[in-house]
Each structure stands twice: as structure tokens, then as C-alpha cells.
């Protein structure tokens, strides 16, 4: 009697313990193939809702679900810990993409026919993001953004200010603007990530594009490569608001939209936010001048959104069908209009007006990826930059950058150097 009692207790305990795991495995009963996309740009949630509806209305055999959560990267990583993979993920071309490729989470999609329509510049950028050269293509670059300086076109026309092309011209312009009683720049450095925007935009002219890779191979240090960049960044601060660390990204966008400053050094992605405050604002952009040469200038641009099929995806055909739908010219054009971004697909697209000043660079493919796409997020380079801008101690900042880099990238550096030793650094 007693034993039996215990057995039933044990059974109860087991069932209770197992139950939570059993809920997870639901499948659709109406025979449609389920495709799930998780994409990381919550600001494009409305666009993806319309895509989802349009796709489901035109397909009987596939049912598509697109979710656009806030902080999607944390959500994705949490799901990956549980080995629960969506079919397609929409992410940016940054260090997380590098990690995912390295972890073997993504499927090689070089066989997908749509790949032939991608702008080669962005395929190269994607290729460069792989920690060590890896065969295959793992991302379909969808849209890119560009960082530089957004300026108030109306204000520039009224005062007759000229677009600067070198660092000295830019400082002269800032002096001229301040002399007329207008604030040249607005900054929203309370949100640490915004500290990276001017940094990236100047870095493409002042530091080698593959600085981080050279450091990983032990060929150089950040102290050597970033010195000039850090100094020039500091020189911009006096042209901003008195206490730039009190304002966040929203505050800065709002202030610029209301004409409180003539320029805002940020990426094209800020345009929808700014226009939502002041839809009548006439705004344009120019490439951030950082060097003294007019030759050899390049635009800071990288993959803002790309789609990757996970290795775990059961039905690749269905996933490719979804990619076809997303990559159709008119679907992509709608995204570009809504998000003021740059298409990664070859073809005739209408670029947003606010990119007028950058079109020349985009058309000729003269683009260099963001430095921060190579920084591991846990190193918090944005916070290091904010600390540097507050304390204005260049040497301490660069030294800290070098030591932190070695600490946070220890496993990657070991992997890179093993790869170098095995394959030789001839290539």
C-alpha cells in the first residue's frame, strides 16, 4: 500500500516536471507549411505587417508569420540557447552575424537564385564580416543605411552655407554657423550607441577598413590607428549643445527637427524619426569630411537589414519562396520609402530625397562598412566612447580600447591566429 502511494506520487512529480516541455511542439493542422521570420527592426514593424498580410493572401500553401519584437537580438539569442530557431531571421550585418555564421546556425544560401541580383559591394561587406574566411553565403543583404551628417537644407540655403569636403572646411563652417548664433550640431549622447555614429563616419576616412582584423592578427594596435580619429572627435564637441550627455536619441532628433541645430551627425536611419516630429522639414545629407584630402573619400555604409535562413529550417523551398516575395522590386521599394534606406539589390530604385548628397557615392559603389560592425557588443565600445567624450582623456581611452579588445576577443583572436597558422597569411 505504502509503496504504491509513493509510486503515484513520483508519477505526479514526473508529469508536472515534464508538462512544460511538452507544450512547445505545436504544428499547424491545416496542412500549410509554416514559415516564421523574426526581424530585428521594430521601427519597420508596420511594413512587415503589410508584407505578411500580402504574402498570406497570395499563397495557399505557405503561412508566413513575421514578428518584429523590441530588443530582438536578446530574444533571438535566448531562443537559440533553447535551440529553438525561427526559419528566417532578419538581422544587420554586424558582429552578431559573424557569431551566427561561426556557430553554424545559418544555412548556406549561395544556391538561392535571388543572390545574383545583389549589389556586389554588399556581398563583399558580408564576406568581410566572417570571423575567418568561410565558404558560402549566409545572408541576403536587403537594405543598407549610410551614416554621415544630416543637415537642415532650408537653413543652409537661407544663410548661403557651403557643403564642406575636408576637415578644415568643416571646422570653418562650424565656426561660421556658431558666429551667426546657431548651434552647428546636436548630439544625443545619453543613448550611448549614438556616440558611435560620428565615430564610424569619420573612421572610414581615417582608419583602415579592416583595422579590427589587423589587430586580431597582431599586426597593429588601436592606439596606432585611432589616435587621429579620437582627436578629431573631441574637436567636434564644442560645436554641440552644452551638456550632450543629458539628451537621448529622441531628444536630439526632436531638437534637430525643430531647427535647434543646423546639422546632426547620425545615420540615414534617423530620418523617419525626425520627419515624424516635423514632416515639413527640408533635410539632406552629406558625407562626413574627416581627412584633409578631397581625393579618396568614401561613404560610411553597411548592411542594415539582411535575411538569413537558419540551418534548422525544415523547408528551404518555402523559405526561398518567402525571400523571393521580400526581394521583389516593389516590396523592396516600399521598404526603402518607409525606412529611408538604400537597397542592396541591383536595379532602378528611387532613393529617398534625404540621401541626395550621398547618391554619387552610392551609385559608384564607393562605400566602406561601419567599424562598429566588427566590435563585440559586450565590449560596449559605445560606452567607452561616451566615457572618453566625458573625460576627454585620449591616451587612457585608447589604452583601455586595446586592453579591453584583447580581453573580450580572446577566443576569436586565438581562432584567427590558428587559422592564419594553418592557411598562411599569404592571402
Amino acid at each position: 500500500m505504502k509503496r504504491k502511494g509513493f509510486r503515484s506520487l513520483a508519477l505526479t512529480a514526473c508529469i508536472t516536471a515534464i508538462a512544460p516541455f511538452a507544450w512547445g511542439c505545436g504544428s499547424s493542422s491545416d496542412g500549410k507549411i509554416e514559415v516564421e521570420i523574426v526581424q530585428y527592426k521594430p521601427e519597420a514593424a508596420n511594413y512587415f505587417k503589410t508584407v505578411e498580410d500580402a504574402f498570406n493572401a497570395s499563397h495557399d500553401d505557405i503561412h508566413l508569420t513575421i514578428s518584429s519584437p523590441n530588443d530582438a537580438m536578446a530574444i533571438l539569442k535566448t531562443r537559440f540557447i533553447r535551440e529553438d530557431y525561427p526559419d528566417i531571421i532578419g538581422i544587420g550585418g554586424d558582429i552578431n552575424y559573424s557569431y551566427f555564421v561561426d556557430a553554424g546556425i545559418l544555412a548556406d544560401i549561395s544556391g538561392y537564385e535571388g543572390m545574383q541580383n545583389v549589389n556586389e559591394g554588399y556581398l563583399e561587406i558580408a564576406e568581410a564580416l566572417e570571423l575567418v574566411p568561410t565558404d558560402g553565403t549566409y545572408i541576403l543583404p536587403y537594405a543598407a543605411n549610410a551614416a554621415g551628417i544630416l543637415y537642415n537644407r532650408q537653413m543652409f540655403e537661407e544663410h548661403g552655407w557651403q557643403i564642406p569636403e575636408t576637415w578644415d572646411e568643416m571646422l570653418a563652417l562650424c565656426d561660421q554657423i556658431s558666429a551667426e548664433g546657431i548651434l552647428p550640431f546636436y548630439f544625443g549622447f545619453k543613448d550611448t550607441w549614438t556616440c558611435l555614429a560620428p565615430w564610424n563616419a569619420m573612421a572610414v576616412e581615417l582608419a583602415p577598413a579592416d583595422t579590427t582584423k589587423q589587430v586580431n592578427k597582431g599586426q597593429t594596435t588601436f592606439t596606432k590607428e585611432y589616435g587621429e580619429l579620437a582627436e578629431k572627435y573631441m574637436a567636434l564637441l564644442p560645436y554641440g549643445p552644452d551638456d550632450p550627455f543629458a539628451y537621448n536619441y529622441n531628444d536630439a532628433c526632436t531638437a534637430f527637427a525643430r531647427g535647434e541645430s543646423a546639422m546632426y551627425p547620425i545615420g540615414s536611419y534617423a530620418a523617419p524619426q525626425i520627419l515624424s516630429v516635423n514632416p515639413d522639414l527640408k533635410m539632406d545629407s552629406f558625407v562626413m569630411p574627416a581627412s584633409d584630402e578631397k581625393e579618396g573619400r568614401t561613404l560610411n555604409s553597411g548592411i542594415d537589414l539582411g535575411f538569413c535562413v537558419t540551418a534548422d529550417c525544415k523547408n528551404k523551398e518555402a523559405a526561398y519562396e518567402v525571400l523571393n516575395f521580400l526581394y521583389a522590386d516593389d516590396t523592396l521599394q516600399k521598404y526603402i520609402d518607409a525606412q529611408t534606406s538604400v537597397p542592396c539589390k541591383k536595379g532602378n530604385f528611387t532613393l529617398p530625397v534625404i540621401l541626395d548628397g550621398m547618391t554619387e557615392f552610392i551609385a559608384s559603389g564607393n562605400m566602406t562598412d561601419y567599424q562598429d560592425h566588427y566590435y563585440p557588443s559586450e565590449m560596449s565600445v559605445d560606452a567607452l566612447l561616451q566615457t572618453f567624450l566625458i573625460e576627454k582623456n585620449k591616451d587612457a581611452f585608447l589604452k583601455n580600447f586595446d586592453t579591453s579588445w584583447q580581453r573580450y576577443n580572446r577566443d576569436i583572436i586565438r581562432m584567427v591566429q590558428e587559422y592564419e597558422a594553418a592557411h598562411g597569411s599569404a592571402q
Binding site: 516536471a17 512544460p20 545619453k190 550627455f245 560606452a383 566615457t387 566625458i390
Partner: protein
């Protein structure tokens, strides 16, 4: 043992075991798995290698982790003192015979109902725009820029928000404590000349020590694990000056790629909290008075 008593015991067991199973499933197993991850270089996904005690050795030499412990402990101590002093004074006031007592008790409890994120965003606006504007009007130099933008002062902003919210709950606990002190104790004390401060020091406070210790333990534990307020107010900035331990674990472990390392941090943090809580309980239970 009678059969009846056996039945009773079995019923209790039947009630306990499902709960125990749930607890093991959602608390103990994740804890053990987390501890296992702390010996790997896992990024949270993909393959990982065992690295032995490397994460723990790194932990004790990592300046950023050390800074987050100092910040969190400083915040917890100061906030606990501020919260307990203010809520004890409030409780004494709200427990006396004043008009509209119910209304005041409700009003002071309100902050506890609001979500920490909502409160954080409201205070964010308050510190960034309203306080500097007021300071400009009154000519107070020290407050003319947002305290959240200064690495030396941002923690005070976090402290104010934490305290503002926590005072509500602590006041309620103190009020219920004060109501357990019978009126005749005061009457008897009054005959011996114990009034005012003397009455509080020798009669009231010793009798509500159990409530004081509950408040202390809850406060210290809550503020050591401060997270929502940081997310809403500063996101660890400026200059990484307000990175609390929980924030660092979440941010670098989940969003960043330091899953293994931050698991080690979480294990150490868990041990720290257990040790502090047990020490507090031991200390304050030795001070308790019985009527």
C-alpha cells in the same frame, strides 16, 4: 501511528510535491545549468569549450565587474538607509490619529502600484528637463545640468527613484508593525516617564524589530538586484558609472556574447546575496524582543 494520521500526511505530501517539482523544474535545474555554463566559454548558442575556472579568475581581475559590484553595493546601502528612515517616519505619522488617514495611506502607497519602467521614464524627463529648468529659475548652479548626465551624480538619480518606489511597501510593513504594539504598553511606559523620543527608542522600536529586519532584508536584496530602474533611467551610463550587477549580467550575457562569463558572475552574485541575507537574519533575530 493511526491510519488517520497517515492519510493526513499523505495529503500534505500530495500538496507539496507538485509545487516542489515546479520549483525544481523552473528554479533548481536552471540554476544548476547556469552553474555548468559558468565553466564554459559559451556565447549562449553554437558550440562551446570547457575552460575550467578561467571565467572565475577573469571575474576577479575584471575592472568593469568590480566597478559594478562597488556601484551596486553603494546603491543598496544608501538606498536601504534612506528608505527605512523615511518610511519609519511616514509610518509613525500615518499610524497616529490624523484626519483622512485612509486617504494618505492610499496616496503614499501609489508609487508601489506603478511599474518601475513607467516611473523611470517619468523621472528621466523630470531630471533632464524639469529639474534643470527649476534650477535655472532659482539660480542653483549645482543642478543646472541633468544629474543623470554626470558620472559622479547619476547614481543619486537612480537612488531617488528606487527609494521613491520602495518607501511605499516599507511604510505599509511598518504600519502593520506599529499596530501590533498594544496601547497599554505606551500607557504603562508613560507612567514611568517614557514619552516622545524615549518612548520610541525603548518601547516602540524594540517591539517592531521583526518588521525592521524584514524590511532590511527585503530592501538590501531588492536593491542589490536593481535592474528596471537602471534600464529606464541610464542604461548603465554615463561612462558606465551606473552598471548594476544584474544589468551587466543581462546585457553582456544575453545581448552580448559573454554567456559563460556572465553565468560565472551570476553564480558569484547568487552566493553574495545568500551570504548577506543570512548574515542579516542572524544579526537582527539576535536583537528581537518579545512581549
Amino acid at each position: 501511528m493511526s491510519k488517520h494520521e497517515n492519510e493526513r500526511k499523505r495529503t500534505f505530501l500530495l500538496i507539496t510535491i507538485p509545487i516542489l517539482a515546479l520549483f525544481i523544474c523552473f528554479n533548481t535545474i536552471p540554476l544548476i545549468r547556469g552553474a555548468m555554463y559558468s565553466f564554459t566559454n559559451s556565447r549562449g548558442f553554437g558550440s562551446h569549450d570547457w575552460v575550467g575556472l578561467r571565467n572565475y579568475i577573469d571575474l576577479f581581475s575584471d575592472a568593469r565587474v568590480g566597478k559594478s559590484y562597488l556601484f551596486t553595493i553603494k546603491l543598496a546601502i544608501v538606498t536601504t538607509v534612506v528608505v527605512n528612515v523615511i518610511s519609519l517616519i511616514l509610518a509613525l505619522g500615518l499610524n497616529s490619529k490624523i484626519k483622512a488617514k485612509g486617504f494618505f495611506r492610499g496616496a503614499y502607497f501609489l508609487p508601489n502600484i506603478l511599474g518601475a519602467l513607467v516611473v523611470g521614464y517619468i523621472f528621466n524627463y523630470f531630471f533632464t528637463y524639469i529639474v534643470p529648468a527649476l534650477a535655472d529659475m532659482t539660480g542653483l548652479q549645482g543642478l543646472s545640468s541633468s544629474i543623470l548626465s554626470s558620472p559622479n551624480k547619476a547614481w543619486i538619480g537612480v537612488m531617488i527613484v528606487c527609494a521613491w518606489q520602495a518607501i511605499a511597501m516599507n511604510t505599509i510593513i511598518y504600519i502593520s508593525g506599529l499596530q501590533t504594539v498594544p496601547e497599554d504598553v505606551y500607557e504603562a511606559g508613560g507612567l514611568d516617564g517614557a514619552t516622545g523620543w524615549k518612548q520610541f527608542k525603548h518601547l516602540t522600536f524594540p517591539l517592531i524589530i521583526p518588521f525592521f529586519s524584514i524590511n532590511m532584508v527585503l530592501c538590501v536584496k531588492n536593491f542589490l538586484m536593481v535592474f528596471d530602474q537602471i534600464i529606464a533611467l541610464t542604461k548603465g551610463g554615463p561612462a558606465q558609472s551606473t552598471e548594476s550587477i544584474s544589468y551587466l549580467i543581462y546585457n553582456n550575457g544575453m545581448s552580448g556574447g559573454q554567456f559563460g562569463f556572465q553565468s560565472a558572475n551570476a553564480v558569484v552574485f547568487f552566493i553574495v546575496i545568500v551570504v548577506i541575507s543570512v548574515a542579516q537574519m542572524k544579526f537582527s533575530s539576535s536583537k528581537e524582543e518579545q512581549l
